[in-house]
Symmetry: C2
Amino acid sequence: MVKKNEGKHIPQRVVSRLAMYYRVLSQLDQGGVERISSRELGEMMGITPSQIRQDLSYFGEFGQQGYGYKVSYLQQEISKILGLEKQHTMILIGVGNLGRAIASYTNFRNRGFDLVGAFDIRDEVIGKKLGELEIKPMSELRSLLKENRVDIGVITVPATQAQQVADILVEEGIKGIWNFAPLKLEVPAGVIVEHVHISDSLFALSFRLREIWE
Amino acid sequence: MVKKNEGKHIPQRVVSRLAMYYRVLSQLDQGGVERISSRELGEMMGITPSQIRQDLSYFGEFGQQGYGYKVSYLQQEISKILGLEKQHTMILIGVGNLGRAIASYTNFRNRGFDLVGAFDIRDEVIGKKLGELEIKPMSELRSLLKENRVDIGVITVPATQAQQVADILVEEGIKGIWNFAPLKLEVPAGVIVEHVHISDSLFALSFRLREIWE
């Protein structure tokens, strides 16, 4: 049973782990696993069982003593908690290699994230197709945002242009930014930025390799 | 002063945070910040000061009571801990949009990660250029690995082909895999896989947006 979290602020690390739970539970469910203990789930994720119970206790009671968690049920409940039952509209700004890679990642569409616009400043790209969308010039960004409700702006422009793009998105009322530019964006309170730090995992890999070699 | 960590196993979440410390300290250093308290650093990263002190205590003493941390010094020490002072060679398997995006991300090269080969199975890509590299057919992957020391294999092929690619890399002695395919790879003990879960941050963004809306 999911309880409303009654205005309690959920720490960022708990939110990040919720997305991890969802991913791991989806894999288990696809693999035909029906139930799992918090100990097993913890081992898969590299965290303690008590951490899992504590994280989930923000949202309700999901397991049963001596039984563990029902995988498909817990996955669905976390899906609701994450808001994945809702449709989200997204626009993409910057249709380079990374932008194209993200747009073609069908996993998002399957989860209800729908790309409704793609923008670039480069003449050689404008007017071309990105899937079923026509790539539009940046000059049309504001008018699209005034006429349509867009939940999330995906920023895949170079770091030098990312803040400028974020400013436009914020001015036109976008509340969610998914930022791939290697730059910390300044946004007012009430706007959420999730930054994808691709190199963090490479540096973690470097550390683990050093452990092997020494 | 960095002490050898004397064979202690460092938990994965500490390793992940080390990469975060490195990133945040690099930003502070570039911004001209000379020193920072563990409280301030904690606020920037959304973790507690005691967590920071505990993480760093695996590796030595870096701060001074009442002074905090010297930013450039701590950044350099964490760079050494992460093994970023070493050169790493990488090959890329799968030169689609994502592969091209990663190859063009100059940040890695600046940190000593050197791309020495790029492979694909598609005839229309083989023989073309990726930066200064010529894209090679998969049939040449094993011979390159037999003749050269390669530290890291970057997997950017579709999920259906990722395990097969990983098997070849492991058989030819690669110890580090940076995996972008949305699939959990099976590898023997002693091989390190870092998986980039791009959608986790999108789902976390979805959660935060739901908090705003309700």
